[in-house]
């Protein structure tokens, strides 16, 4: 524990006090925390909307709401969770909090731009929330905004689309900031292959954010132009092409999956060596597989469109490339498991979350294979199977990685330790609830239940009931986890500077870190996971 008195980044920094002190701060850690609080609130809203859907589906027919309300709720749930929680999630929160420290920098390259990104994010988020309460009722298109439904429906699509457009800029600017930071601000001696793997993952992610997000921006602008000025881009009644929208949308939205999952893989890659007290197995393989995923990931969007009416050639090429992009993810899993071999394993909360991540991500990834394969995808496309699959990837993957990161870096962020026993129990409830909620949906999909169904036939009832019960179990787990962390942040016992025995640079500075991270700029000579 540090004995030299210092001022942590959590304490007032002068000039302003209270909230204003935070809202004007360009410190990367503070911005990271501000993202976390905002995203935390949006996550809870998204969870509650999801729970309302599960209650509605508890029995066939109308349970608590009509179909229009239901359609609005799954749209809002999707928009909030995708654009405001999982896409910004890991990079904006933990990327901001720890990437500069891990590379030995005192901040990101453009701190003011970083704060601006947060404001743009909040502006977009507020627009998204407003779209629910203004105009002719909440948007009812699903988060994919498929045309021409989205150009025709009378609901408040315009504002929701504008919100997604604004949120995109925040993502682009964060990507730009991280790329420059990683290129220019690494500590002396930290060569590319001495950089920890979380920054590596963020680096690959940042390129996707920078290059792919403008495409969805343009697409959404076209949609806005079509609704406002009746320009026929997508609606055949105006001379447009509905399939064009799907291509443009997925050219972004498939790579966006990697914006969520690459940083998640990065987090897991940090946690496993620490709790095994072992150097990571296959450092270069993991780093390069991130780049490979980011590269090939641009070329596989068509797997969302096998039934949309593309040429046969296009369909099989997309299928082929989709199978290729599965391989680097498998390589990462093998390297993580190999890192446990002959380690000295401490089963602490962050490691438990990392294990759950590997298991759930494997199910998500392996069930994705039948969505990449042509014949099988035709059967399960747009069924509950797809819903189960992407929740395993996004929630089981990105979500559990977020919780892992939260429990891993919490003592560093707040200088306090949480109750580890309660944290472990919450983990167990979350893990059971999650599987009970989403696994039945694989079966429902294989039974032939289409997605976005307000009502269903009797043969689907068992699965739907199980899934709803699972939803409540999961919810209890989430509440327990969050409460435990809030109590710890307020009154938890003091945490040591390096509670887990980590080797990356953030564990060499006090908890919570001082304003500019390092008293003297670190000089790096060793590899990042050197436990010799």
């Amino acid at each position: 524990m540090t004995t030299i008195p210092y001022k942590s980044y959590l304490e007032p920094q002068g000039k302003y006090t209270g909230l204003l002190d935070w809202l004007t701060s360009t410190d990367h850690k503070r911005i990271g925390l501000m993202y976390m609080y905002a995203i935390g609130i949006f996550f809870i809203i998204g969870v509650l909307l999801g729970l309302l859907m599960r209650i509605e589906l508890f029995k066939p027919g109308e349970t608590i709401m009509g179909p229009q309300t239901y359609n609005g709720i799954f749209t809002v749930h999707g928009v909030i969770m995708i654009f405001m929680v999982v896409i910004p999630g890991l990079s904006a929160v933990f990327g901001n909090l720890f990437m500069p420290i891990q590379i030995g920098a005192k901040d990101v390259a453009f701190p003011k731009l970083n704060l601006l990104s947060w404001y743009i994010f909040m502006a977009g988020a507020i627009l998204a929330v407003l779209s629910q309460f203004t105009g002719n009722g909440p948007p009812d298109t699903g988060w994919t905004f498929y045309a021409p439904y989205s150009t025709q429906t009378g609901t408040n699509v315009l504002m929701a689309v504008t919100a997604a457009f604004v949120l995109g800029f925040s993502s682009i600017l964060t990507g730009l900031n991280f790329i420059v930071t990683i290129h220019r601000m690494r500590a002396p001696g930290m060569t590319w292959f001495k950089m920890p793997l979380f920054p590596w993952a963020l680096y690959s992610t940042a390129w996707i954010q920078l290059l792919a997000t403008p495409i969805v921006g343009i697409t959404l602008l076209m949609l806005i132009a079509e609704r406002v000025f009746k320009i026929g881009f997508f609606d055949p009644a105006l001379g447009g092409d509905p399939i064009l929208f799907q291509h443009l949308f997925w050219i972004y939205s498939h790579p966006a999956v990697y914006v969520m999952i690459l940083p998640a893989m990065g987090v897991i890659t940090e946690i496993i060596p620490t709790f095994c007290q072992r150097r990571i197995f296959g450092y270069k393989a993991i780093a390069l597989s991130s780049i490979a995923i980011a590269g090939v990931g641009y070329l596989v969007w068509g797997h969302h469109m096998y039934t949309s009416g593309m040429s046969f050639t296009a369909r099989w090429i997309f299928s082929f490339l989709t199978f290729i992009v599965a391989v680097p993810s498998a390589i990462k899993v093998f390297n993580w498991v190999a890192t446990m071999y002959k380690g000295s394993i401490a089963l602490k909360t962050p490691f438990l979350y990392a294990l759950a991540f590997i298991f759930l991500f494997m199910i998500g990834g392996l069930t994705g294979l039948s969505l990449g394969s042509l014949a099988t995808d035709v059967y399960v496309h747009d069924t509950a199977y797809v819903v189960a699959h992407f929740h395993y990837i996004i929630f089981g993957g990105m979500g559990f990685a977020f919780f892992a990161a939260l429990h891993y870096w919490f003592p560093k962020m707040y200088g306090k330790m949480y109750n580890q026993k309660i944290a472990d129990i919450a983990w167990l409830i979350l893990f059971f609830g999650f599987n009970m909620l989403y696994f039945p949906q694989f079966v429902l999909g294989l039974q032939g239940l289409p997605r976005r169904y307000y009502d269903y036939m009797p043969q689907f009832e068992t699965g739907e009931v199980l899934s709803t019960i699972g939803g409540f179990v999961l919810f209890i787990g989430i509440i327990m986890m969050i409460t435990n962390l809030i109590i710890a942040a307020r009154n938890g016992p003091q945490a040591p500077d390096n509670p887990w025995g980590g080797k990356t640079l953030e564990w060499t500075i006090p908890s919570p870190p001082p304003m500019e991270n390092f008293d003297t700029p670190p000089v790096v000579s060793k590899e990042p996971y050197d436990y010799e």
Partner: protein, 310 residues
């Protein structure tokens, strides 16, 4: 439902699709169980109490190559099986019976040779059929799970789907592309019957050319997706006995008593949000001004006047 193996598949596509599933699920299950078991074994065996000092193992190029090459081969196998089971779906035989399929919010309509319309898909067993599909409004997707076929139905273009039904029975037809309010109710049924029964049925269907002109225009504009003709309450009010009916409507939220006349019917088509019949929602119907020509609107109104209460 998906079965892995069925002695009597419902269509010629099902066996290939299920075989591809079996291979992918088989390999996946093996890896999931295998990796999870190894992980659990490592956690127990190398727990810090049992194994206090970690051994620092350097990477192994040979291992990395192994676990790159093996998964690559396996995914290529999966790709291949998906490909060979899918390619017949795009290879439409020339002698297949053509059924024109029209999707609209929120119903299916099938047109048989000889201008005969049906809301159900009646098919002779063991004969290839090709659905020539288009949509009148938004994107839908025709899914017959027992046949393992699905293809989106897109406005402004025609998509094709073909198969040979190989088992007698009734099979659900569902819409899998989200299409608005009644998406989950957009269903029909595929009835697979012997050839003789099919012929008898087809002969009994009247030709659509005898239909009232107003009804034809209404079908083209998918009115029946939201308005029934038999009194059933759908998204909008039923057309049954509509002319001359007394209704309470809301004008800007204020209730007003009206009697349905041709002026009201005209307003309801060109400015549907102006007067909302009590118990129904605003914003669900778009204006048909400029979409349906003036004289066609008059034809529709004349037709609606004939719909008496039974």
């Amino acid at each position: 439902m998906f079965t892995f193996y069925d002695p009597q598949y419902a269509s010629n596509m099902a066996e290939g699709v299920d075989a591809a599933f079996l291979i992918i699920f088989g390999i996946s299950f093996f890896f999931l169980i295998g990796i999870t078991a190894v992980m659990i074994w490592f956690i127990i065996r190398y727990h810090h109490k049992r194994h206090p000092k970690a051994v620092q193992i350097k990477e192994s190029f040979a291992l990395e190559v192994t676990w790159t090459v093996i998964p690559t081969i396996l995914v290529m196998i999966m790709f291949y099986y998906g490909y060979i089971a899918f390619s017949p779906m795009r290879d439409i035989p020339a002698d297949a019976m053509v059924v024109k399929t029209v999707a609209k919010m929120w119903s299916w309509e099938f047109e048989y040779p000889g201008n005969k319309l049906s809301t159900e898909l009646i098919l002779p067993i063991n004969e290839p059929v090709v659905l020539e599909m288009t949509s009148l409004d938004v994107v839908h997707s025709l899914f017959i799970s027992a046949f393992r076929v699905k293809e989106d139905v897109v406005p402004g273009t025609t998509h094709y789907m073909w198969f040979i039904p190989e088992r007698l029975g009734n099979y659900e037809i569902l819409c899998t592309e989200y299409c608005g309010l009644r998406h989950s109710f957009m269903e029909s049924v595929a009835r697979v019957v012997p050839r003789e029964e099919f012929d008898v049925w087809l002969a009994s269907v009247p030709e659509a050319t005898n239909m009232d002109e107003g009804l034809i225009i209404m079908r083209q504009n998918a009115c029946s997706g939201c308005h029934s003709m038999d009194g059933t309450k759908l998204v909008g009010p039923s057309f049954q006995g509509i002319y001359g009916k007394a209704e309470t409507v809301l004008i800007d939220g204020t209730p007003a008593e009206i009697v349905v006349d041709s002026a009201y019917l005209y307003r309801a088509i060109v400015d549907p949000d102006y007067e909302i019949v009590e118990g129904y929602n605003k914003g669900l119907m778009k204006t048909y001004k400029g979409v349906i020509p003036e004289e066609d609107i008059q034809t529709i109104i004349k037709f609606l006047m004939t719909l008496q209460k039974e």
